[in-house]
Symmetry: C2
Subunit: 368 residues, 2 copies
């Protein structure tokens, strides 16, 4: 890994320093969790965001179209047993979700699954799907392409100040709310109920090679190792026609990676376990589980894993940064980070920074 001395002078390897490029500033950490309303980097604490009560669940929008130049949206859904969204389809929106806590029943295309913490699902446009929460506390994060999903929760529910659902809540979403959502969001609800078959625990460990609906068990994915960190591509460009990739990273405490930015893609960081320190333009923030950072193109950023076991998930759009992971990392058969760090082959990356959409702001120091 790279060691960056505190006093080290920032120096761009291949471009002028974009230290204060126009439109680049990080929103202050606000307890109210306000979203910026424009595509600037920002930080949202666990539970914050623009919240709606939708039937039995709290939908916390942590990225809306207006915050991302309409590239993507993201919401954290929190609910109790029986909270659900009935069977529906998005015509133009590709959705991906990862379970954060509890047990979720998911109907996806012809399948009917049980997902727990860490399990992932990819739901391309045109795929009928529904979910029902099964645990008293269930949480998942949903990412979606474009800008037509945030309005879904707004239309389905009411603005909500709380962070958990009210104790006595009716999980049923009124028919008129479903109609209202169809008028304002990319959604069409099916009149039929999802099947009453027995759901299957997710066991799949294979990422398909094309854009199809699929589920993936926690820890699975196309795994690559670089140094002490393991990157698992749980969704790659083949699964989304290049629109996005989803990467779960895990590792032990380590050094800050080199400060860098991207010209062509937006990156997000959602902490799952442990603690992460991030440099985001001029701000330094520490992420605990559930905390989220949005780093649009041209945001100078870097991260450092602080805990003995730290895990995060990133949604990157468009998906072109997949090449970076495949160039830097080596295929890794195991399911836990190595006890002895693997080679960190940054030399492979240095020769094609432009091609990989990677702009270094500080030069890598010599290896430890």
């Amino acid at each position: 890994m790279f060691v960056l001395g505190t006093g080290q002078i920032a120096h761009a390897l291949d471009t002028p320093q974009p230290q204060t490029a126009p439109g680049i500033d990080i929103q202050k950490v606000v307890p109210e969790g306000k979203l910026p309303g424009k595509a600037v980097p920002y930080f949202i604490r666990n539970g914050e965001g623009e919240r709606y009560l939708v039937g039995g669940l709290v939908a916390g929008l942590i990225a809306r179209g207006v915050d991302t130049q309409e590239l993507f949206e993201a919401a954290v859904l929190t609910g109790g047993r029986d909270a659900n969204l009935p069977l529906h389809t998005h015509a133009r929106t590709h959705e991906a979700l990862l379970v954060l806590d509890g047990e979720v029943e998911l109907w996806l295309g012809g399948g009917h699954y049980l997902l727990i913490r860490g399990d992932f699902a990819s739901i391309p446009e045109g795929t009928p799907h529904a979910f029902k929460m099964r645990s008293h506390r269930t949480r998942l994060i949903s990412w979606s392409t474009g800008r037509e999903m945030g309005s879904l929760y707004k239309a389905l529910g009411q603005p909500y100040e709380g962070y958990v659902q009210p104790p006595e809540v009716n999980p049923e979403i009124p028919r008129e709310s479903l109609k209202k959502a169809e008028a304002s969001a990319d959604v069409r609800f099916e009149s039929k109920a999802p099947s009453r078959s027995t759901p299957q625990r997710v066991s799949n460990g294979t990422v398909p090679d094309k854009k199809v609906p699929y589920v993936l068990a926690s820890g699975e994915g196309q795994r690559l190792v670089a140094g002490s960190e393991v990157f698992s591509l749980v969704g790659d460009q083949r699964n989304s026609d290049g629109k996005f990739i989803v990467v779960v990273s895990e590792g032990p405490a380590g050094d800050m990676i080199p400060l860098h930015y991207h010209e062509k893609h937006t990156e997000t960081f959602f902490c799952l376990d442990g603690s992460i320190t991030m440099r985001v333009n001029d701000a330094t923030v520490t992420l605990a589980p559930g905390d989220f950072v949005h780093a649009p193109a041209r945001t100078i950023h870097a991260y450092q894993l602080n805990s003995h076991y730290t895990r995060m998930v990133g949604f990157l759009t468009p998906g072109l940064f997949e090449s970076f992971f495949r160039t830097l990392g080596d295929p890794y058969p195991a399911y836990v980070y190595p006890q002895t760090p693997a080679p960190f082959r940054f030399d492979r990356v240095l020769s094609k920074l432009n091609e990989l959409d990677l702009k270094l702001v500080q030069p890598p120091a010599s290896k430890k």
Copy 2:
């Protein structure tokens, strides 16, 4: 809730102030996670503790008999798929466990269960049991009475510096290690393998009224509400002949509770979600998920929940503090903390502080 002004003068209501009672000091937070070796309050970060590699799992001892005056021991077990402990029985030790991540197959008495995050099991002495981890990352915490369990992991495995299991590890524990453990710990391994029946997902919501083996689904328990906090007794004195209780607490961000100590029982705090600030004698520590505090009798302590959803689990021994929760709280049918705080009836407690083993160090200020 109580509001304690920063400048408020500490004042004991019914006893002299034990601000610096003999033997009361808090161990410094050490990155090495050293255990104190005597019964003083201490703080262990997630992943730290005295660690052994036992077959496919890392057993991290966070409380050994020497750290607790032989009242209890606690270990966090981390492993991948197929990590297991074969069928065994403790003759004199009552064990309790709570799953922290992943999916665990548990054989308990005649039952065979699937547990996920938040599910609990009580394993009285004399109960044959075994477990097998099913997820690529699985974690659980195990508490046990007395002082004869720490030596189990020491005998079964080898000292280990890592925080996760090595990528390629054989989950099989050699027969000679099982024999060695039988000679040094309260354990007897069965020669037969656990049943090959299909495990049942834990759905039980009822805490039994006597000491029997049982499992309990996440969020269940005997729930009591006080203010905005919900206390779930997942194990009470009837389940352990009074030896211990296990309490899961959840709530939103709030104020620091009044500083207090106990004469007759030891309390432990293990953070599950969110963030907790604790006063422990003269130290102030902040707990993230996986962090642990041991507060033996005569430790002055208080806590404050910092996040919109904070959850912790406590193992208290002996179990006499059950009366405090039942006196302070009102039975609560729901499964999530209330949006409008319930009455905080500290007046019920004030009239019988001695009986409840509660010594206040600062008087409660007037209510908000």
